[in-house]
Amino acid sequence: MARITREEVAHVAHLARLTFREEELDKFTSQLNDILLYMDKLNSADTAGVAPMTHAAVRGNAFREDVTTPSLAPGESLANAPDSRGEFFRVPKVIE
């Protein structure tokens, strides 16, 4: 039983900007299928009357108050940038 097609894997790879060789696509399609089939087993559990669980951490709200804290010093933010100019990050031109 196939839960995901090779085309879908290729599409998701493209969206994630990943490039795979043909044999890699076959391999990942098969592996992802196994994972999804395993996940299907969860569907056999009876969850009638159980509230959907949105997070593994069982706790209340985690907020911060609206108070400013210092940002990184100028230059620090840019320290790891592959390319920068003045106070800006620089990237290849993007067309809007």
Binding site: L15, T54, N61, R64, T68, T69, S71, R85, E87, V91
Partner: protein
């Protein structure tokens, strides 16, 4: 065939918090590039976002103002796409579980009051800003805006014309500003709008193919862009063509909408719940606490002003356009108990003086109590309308009380008959020819005598009293 436009609007309002939505960086506009950035803004490995409580509080305010149902449990998701202004590769936003749903706002149009549905209100982070180099194949990134809190308000496809769209936007805008949760500055992008537009033959239930319009940075441009796009789609359909589903950008200079290039796969965002953030629980007690801080909203205020003060719809509209102006007006009314006169003075002389100086009502040099007192003096006839205008200008210049100005300048009106009578008698005695003509039937000369009395008293005589005495003496 007659077509009917179907319009839905998405508004992004920047929330007026001090710090960003998931970190403590400042939200202040106009800082040097990347001065307001930290590891959270930069999307560095290992960071954890923590939600700013005020963002939720402000969004609850808007939800209450627009009659939405507030979801007791809501949460954040990741919207995945690659763009250089988005360092993490995803935007944190609300998707399956937004803060609020199913509300409405009332919009007053020429055809009467219409209810425009709100599908949802949700919270999200803004992206950074990209600046494109004119000469080199480079773009520059400023992440000061990355993580600034936004509230997205999605309308139902209930809007039927460009004019109605503009009216709806003005409503949302004034509510946000009244609530003091957004500064509403469209040029700086604090209030942005995208529109979905389609046409369908009138009477048909199902929608046509829509286009999405972006890049409209003023109410006027929203209206122009929609008018253009409705007309464009109408022509396509009338020629038997099909509207292409696409995103189009409004070009202000040319007054047209143009298809946007690129980003074709933009709609495959692979949303999933953000595991870095716990669900947001909004208790009944919290909602009630926020409800208690809600001010009277503009539409309600407008209706109350008309009802309580008996002023026109237009006047009520002007006076409630700004919450501080409405407060000022009400204080004047409390001081003089003459709502219509108060409306005339606030909207007339006072707003003119403020507008000339581009001054906000919050910095008005005339305390409301002084304006009220001046109106009171005018009403009891102690000063004339002309004097009132002078006093108003002087109060504006000096901030002095009306009684002080009157005393300083000897402006008190002559309302005493025993003072005015000899003046009028002299005027009549000095103009025997005019008197004879008047008595011979040239009634127009009455004005001449009024003018002479005014001249003799330097405009200080009470006009009503002049009229009364003149009629008596002239008829002889």
């Amino acid at each position: 065939m007659e077509f009917e436009p179907v319009i839905g609007l998405e508004v992004h309002a920047q929330l007026l918090t001090e710090s960003k939505i998931f970190c403590g960086c400042s939200t202040r506009f106009g800082a040097p590039p990347n001065a307001h950035a930290c590891p959270v803004c930069l999307g560095l490995p290992g960071i954890l976002p923590v939600l700013n409580r005020k963002v939720v509080e402000y969004a609850i305010k808007m939800a209450l103002a627009t009659h939405c149902r507030i979801n007791r449990e809501n949460g954040f998701a990741r919207k995945n796409y690659f763009y250089p202004d988005l360092p993490k590769g995803y935007q944190i936003t609300q998707y399956a579980h937004p803060l609020a749903e199913e509300g409405f706002v009332e919009v007053e149009t020429e055809e009467g009051t219409r209810r425009i549905g709100i599908i949802r209100i949700h919270m999200e982070e803004d992206a950074g800003k990209l600046i494109h180099d004119e000469r080199f194949p480079s773009s520059y990134i400023d992440l000061n805006r990355a993580g600034v809190p936004l509230m997205e308000i999605v309308s139902a496809p209930d809007i039927r014309s460009a004019g109605e769209a503009a009216a709806y936007l003005r409503r949302l805008h004034e509510i946000l500003v009244y609530l003091e949760i957004c500064d509403g500055n469209m040029e700086e992008g604090s209030f942005r709008c995208d529109a979905n537009v389609s046409l369908r033959p009138r009477g048909r239930e199902e929608f046509g193919i829509r286009t999405e319009l972006k890049n409209m940075n003023s109410f006027r441009n929203v209206q122009r862009a929609l008018d253009y796009e409705i007309e464009r789609q109408r022509r396509v359909l009338e020629e038997g063509g099909e509207v292409v589903q696409e995103t189009r950008l409004w070009d202000d200079a040319q007054g047209v909408t143009m298809p946007m290039r690129g980003k074709e796969e933009a709609h495959d965002y692979r949303y999933f719940p953000d595991p870095d953030l716990v669900a947001v629980a909004v208790s009944e007690a919290w909602v009630e606490e926020v409800r208690r801080t809600m001010p009277e909203l503009p539409l309600e205020k407008r209706r109350r002003f008309r009802r309580e003060y008996g002023i026109s719809a237009y006047d009520a509209g002007v006076l409630t356009a700004d919450r501080a102006l409405a407060d000022y007006y009400e204080e004047v009314v409390r001081g003089c108990d003459r709502p219509k006169l108060a409306a005339n003075w606030v909207m007339g002389d006072l707003l003119r003086l403020l507008n000339e100086d581009r001054r906000d009502i919050r910095d008005c040099p005339i305390p409301a109590a002084f304006l009220a007192e001046m109106i009171h003096l005018l009403e009891e006839g102690a000063i004339s309308g002309k004097m009132a205008k002078e006093i108003c200008e002087e109060m504006y210049r000096t901030g002095k009380a009306p009684r002080t100005i009157i005393a300083d300048r000897g402006l008190v009106q002559i309302t005493d008959e025993s003072v005015l009578l000899p003046v009028i008698e002299k005027v009549i005695a000095d103009h025997p020819n005019q008197l004879a003509q008047y008595r011979g039937g040239r009634e127009k000369l009455f004005g001449f005598f009024v003018g002479q009395v005014m001249k003799a008293t330097q405009g200080k005589a009470n006009p009503r009293l002049i009229n009364e005495l003149l009629v008596k003496l002239l008829t002889g």
